[in-house]
């Protein structure tokens, strides 16, 4: 019975499929890239949901964060929703310079990256979060391999970050150890946190970690472009990098053909913004509370019609 009623319904849907979305410029699917961290999945799914609401055909494609530029240059991939100034600026600028990729503006979210420690470390190193405290209590952060130096766990070398230079310029008695991936980074934090062991490491936000673990970012002298480029600027007159890390916007980017092929969608993508707070909460809902990305994104879309309807007007 059900089968008999469903089959014609399917056929009908098939016939209607071509006509139902006729009002958009092109019914070809817009390909949005997915990476392997939750925040990006949420951002992309929200964008996708909104585009669908506007009648566009949307397809998600898994792609490597940096390798995706190759795909966007040829039009194999259309839109990347989270390109952090801190990690992908070079690649983005390079891709934009070829003329095949367009920067679609900021997402409104700010990437923060900095040295971070769990709160319980304030006991053994009371002056924190002021960075100068680290000068005196490096040994509190040491491990047998690095003792008497402190051990700072940096991000993967591919992230850059100039931590070796910073340590030297600021006269910190730390050894920089690089994690290979961010999974390893947070695995070590999780383990140290369980044992209440000393740890200080590179953390970025928006991310679930600052929400899950109690702790603070170290306050270094504020970043400036000059501080990175000119040794004279900053505390140490002889060396550059004697300040904190830059925080930067998170960009969106698209294949150059998107503007022509789906002008309405391009407008919506340019208009898309979210706040760090919203994103932090949603990432926590997925990674800590175990909800699915789809549900969390749908939830946001349901609650914020006023916001996204303006994007697709």
């Amino acid at each position: 019975m059900t089968f008999l009623t469903k089959a014609p319904a399917c056929l009908l849907a098939m016939l209607l499929a071509t006509t139902a979305h006729a009002e958009v410029e092109s019914t070809d699917p817009i390909k949005l890239t997915l990476h392997d961290w939750t925040g990006q999945l949420i951002t992309t799914t929200i964008m996708g949901d909104v585009l669908k609401k506007a009648g566009y055909n949307v397809e998600y494609v898994q792609a490597d964060y940096l390798a995706q530029f190759a795909g966007m240059r040829t039009g194999d991939l259309d839109v990347a929703m989270e390109l952090w100034a801190t990690t992908a600026k070079e690649a983005l600028d390079e891709a934009v310079a070829t003329g095949d990729v367009v920067n679609m503006g900021e997402t409104g979210m700010k990437a923060i990256e900095e040295w971070w420690y769990p709160s319980y470390m304030e006991e053994s190193c009371p002056g924190l979060p002021n960075w100068e405290a680290l000068k005196d209590c490096a040994e509190a952060f040491s491990t047998p391999e690095t003792a008497p130096k402190g051990r700072y766990l940096g991000g993967p070398v591919t992230w850059g970050g100039y931590d070796e230079e910073r340590v030297e310029a600021l006269g910190l008695d730390f050894e920089v150890v690089h994690a290979g991936t961010d999974a390893a980074l947070f695995a070590e934090l999780e383990a140290a946190y369980q044992r209440k062991d000393p740890i200080i490491l590179w953390i970025y936000s928006p991310h679930w970690a600052p929400a899950k673990y109690e702790g603070k970012f170290v306050e270094f002298p504020a970043y400036s472009k000059e501080c990175y480029e000119d040794p004279a600027v900053g505390l140490n007159p002889d060396m550059a990098y004697d300040c904190g890390k830059p925080s930067g916007p998170i960009y969106k980017a698209a294949w150059k053909g998107v503007d022509a092929k789906w002008p309405g969608a391009a407008k919506a993508i340019r208009a898309f913004t979210l706040t760090n707070e919203d994103m932090g909460a949603m990432v926590g809902a997925v990674d800590l509370d175990g909800k699915t990305v789809e549900d969390v994104a749908a939830d946001w879309v349901a609650k914020n019609e006023a916001i996204w309807s303006a994007w697709i007007k």
Binding site: V61, D64, Y65, E145
Partner: protein, 659 residues
């Protein structure tokens, strides 16, 4: 002159002298060079470095953007191939995951559902049934049930779809090239180095060019998988055809076969059991690639593992990882049963009808009873936080002991070895490798080692290469230290063998990423964690070949020992081990190869070796750097392989090397 002659002749003097000299240089050359201001001794002068990486990148760019034969651009050709591969992939994927769809992207409408989980499980059980082994049916059924019950069905089917495409491609390509090499000696000569490189250059190194050529998505992943999984098929095909008894070929020719008939009607069918071993290898290697393939858009179980571990969801990672193991075991046992199947036994045609009936019945029923079509989400199991809690418990309660052991090994073994290798001046390294190669197998190998080591120094990867050698060396040492006794045990006791086989299967197919995260939690980021990951993966051949070597010993040898009054210990040390030595060396060779192939993974915990260079090149889409660093890895692997092969051969002949 005679003193020199003696030095070369006497193995003890030669090896002792070489080591002593290297050690002395490693200890003092650095300081000495610093004192006299000759930095170039330790560090290859930058201006002299070969800009090979830039050349390769430029060549690649030209190939992709400008190369063309007439109106047909290279890019168009690769894209055409890509489309050719994608079509069957999408068909299989439709069958297993997406169903028959109309339209693309979010417009897509499902017209027919994919095969139901019951249908797929039944089909595989029927395949097992065909071999006539009841136990196998149970095993395969259990494996597929695991996938459904632990909620991995859809990902598993996506992975299965890529395996079902990449395996036939790898097998067909491998057989074709293998036949070519069998028929034409020149083809074999030309292919051998290429195959060596395919097997030893880390996949990450050629991922970037493949992405450029074949575009994003599943095709690139499939191509990478095929490149990685095909070489053993080529080699085994050539070998299998060669091992067909000459008489069978002659019987074919006397029956009046043409060349083609001879190949397809006589040689290939006779070689089939060995060809099936090759198929089995292709399956296993394809499954090894699941994680890497998922990084470039293949999705499936590999993606599940990656995302779970990024969330530190250890349980989720383990479940997805075990799903890969389970699938590998099912496919492995099926293909092995097929290889061993006595022609004419087992059941045939009727099964096709049963299979079709189940497909139709479940598809129709699925419309009425959804659980027949898709395993109900409500009925899935999960280990939840058990794994995470177990790790947490160990972490909190046993950490101090773990840390103590770790520090001891680090300070007693890892750091000194690292210092030794990093201290070797590059020029001496080149000379020493040349000497070793020459001593083991004559001037050809010596020259080859000289050139390959020279390449590494010349391209500016010397320090990274030394870290690679150190890390792999130590890991292989530890793997042999643990693996050989286990293998000996397995070789002497059937029960031990059963237990260890299960361990070996798991270690071989469980993506190392799954245990990398707990390892990092317990041992922190650093060389020690990397070493554990490498050991866990590369211990497999150490165990396997040791067991094999012991088991292959002629029982009469042991009996001879018993009647001459040897104790059990004497039998092991005086008879079994010496006889098993060539096999142990082969095992060590394989261990080195696997250790090197794990390099890229060690980069994920932050070592500063060639693996990291390859990985960095990947993330920066730097084709040249990736390929050059990959070649360095390959050259190390090839040198070790040739030297150990020569050693094993020398040992079988009962000589102590080349004079």
């Amino acid at each position: 002159m005679t003193a020199l002659h003696r030095l070369i002749r006497d193995p003890r003097l030669f090896w002792g002298g070489l080591f002593a000299l290297t050690l002395a240089l490693s200890l003092f050359a650095g300081d000495l060079a610093k004192d006299i201001g000759a930095k170039w001794v330790m560090k290859f002068p930058k201006p002299l470095e070969l800009p090979l990486d830039k050349l390769i990148s430029a060549a690649m760019k030209w190939l992709l953007e400008e190369a063309a034969i007439g109106p047909l651009s290279f890019h168009a050709v690769t894209r055409f191939i890509s489309a050719l591969i994608e079509a069957p992939y999408l068909a299989v994927r439709g069958l297993l995951v997406d169903g028959l769809q109309r339209g693309q992207g979010s417009y897509a409408v499902q017209i027919l559902p994919p095969l139901s989980w019951i249908a797929v499980t039944t089909i595989f059980c029927l395949l097992a049934w065909r071999s006539g082994r009841r136990g196998l049916v149970g095993l395969v059924g259990a494996c597929f049930l695991y996938l459904a019950v632990f909620g991995r069905w859809e990902s598993a089917m996506a992975t299965l779809a890529s395996v079902l495409i990449s395996v036939p491609m790898g097998v067909a390509g491998g057989v074709a090239l293998g036949i070519l090499a069998f028929r034409h000696p020149w083809a074999e000569r030309a292919m051998r180095p290429v195959l060596d490189l395919m097997q030893t250059v880390p996949v990450f190194a050629y991922l970037v060019p493949i992405l450029f050529m074949f575009g994003f998505g599943p095709t690139a992943a499939l191509v990478a998988t095929v490149i990685y999984a095909m070489p053993p098929m080529v080699r085994l095909t050539t070998l299998a055809l060669r091992e067909v008894p000459e008489e069978v070929a002659e019987a074919g020719r006397m029956a009046g076969c043409t060349r083609r008939q001879l190949l397809w009607k006589c040689l290939i069918p006779t070689a089939m059991p060995m060809l099936m071993v090759g198929v089995n290898q292709v399956i296993m290697l394809s499954l090894n690639m699941v994680i890497i393939a998922s990084m470039i858009g293949a999705g499936g179980l590999g993606y599940d593992v990656l995302t779970a571990l990024r969330k530190l969801d250890i349980g989720g990672g383990v479940e997805a990882g075990v799903a890969i193991v389970v699938m590998a075991i099912a496919l492995d046992r099926l293909s092995q049963a097929e290889a061993r199947r006595v022609p004419g036994t087992g059941r045939g045609g009727r099964l096709v009808w049963i299979g079709l009936a189940v497909i139709l019945a479940t598809s129709a029923l699925g419309y009425v009873l959804p659980f027949v079509q898709t395993y109900p989400a409500g009925a899935t199991l999960t280990t939840g936080t058990i794994w995470a809690q177990a790790i947490e418990w160990i972490n909190i309660n046993l950490y101090d002991h773990i840390e103590a052991v770790k520090v001891a090994i680090l300070i007693g073994l890892l750091l000194p070895v690292k210092g030794f290798f990093l201290g070797i001046p590059w020029a001496w390294g080149i000379v020493a490798m040349g000497l070793i190669g020459w001593r083991m197998a004559g001037w050809r190998l010596g020259l080859m080692a000289l050139l390959m080591t020279g390449f590494i120094a010349l391209t500016g990867f010397w320090p990274e290469a030394m870290i690679t050698v150190y890390l792999c060396g130590v890991s292989v040492f530890v793997a042999m230290l643990i693996g050989v006794p286990l293998g000996i045990w397995a070789g002497q006791s059937d029960r031990a063998n059963t237990v260890l086989s299960a361990l070996i299967d798991t270690l071989q197919t469980l993506p190392s990423f799954v245990y990398l995260i707990p390892v990092v939690m317990l041992f922190r980021v650093g060389d020690f964690s990397a070493m554990i990951a490498v050991v866990a993966y590369s211990i497999v051949p150490a165990i396997r070949y040791a067991a094999h070597g012991i088991r292959e010993i002629d029982p009469q040898m042991v009996e001879a020992g018993i009647v001459s009054g040897c104790t059990r210990r004497q039998i092991l040390w005086r008879i079994k081990l010496p006889l098993a030595l060539p096999s142990l060396i082969v095992g060590m060779n394989q261990t080195v190869m696997l250790a090197l192939s794990m390099l890229v993974i060690t980069a994920l915990v932050g070592t500063r070796d060639l693996g990291q260079q390859v990985y960095m090149a990947l993330t920066k889409a730097n084709t040249g750097q990736g390929i050059v660093a990959g070649l360095c890895v390959a050259f190390i692997a090839i040198m070790v392989d040739r030297i150990l092969t020569a050693a094993a051969r020398g040992m079988e002949r009962g000589e102590a090397g080349h004079g």
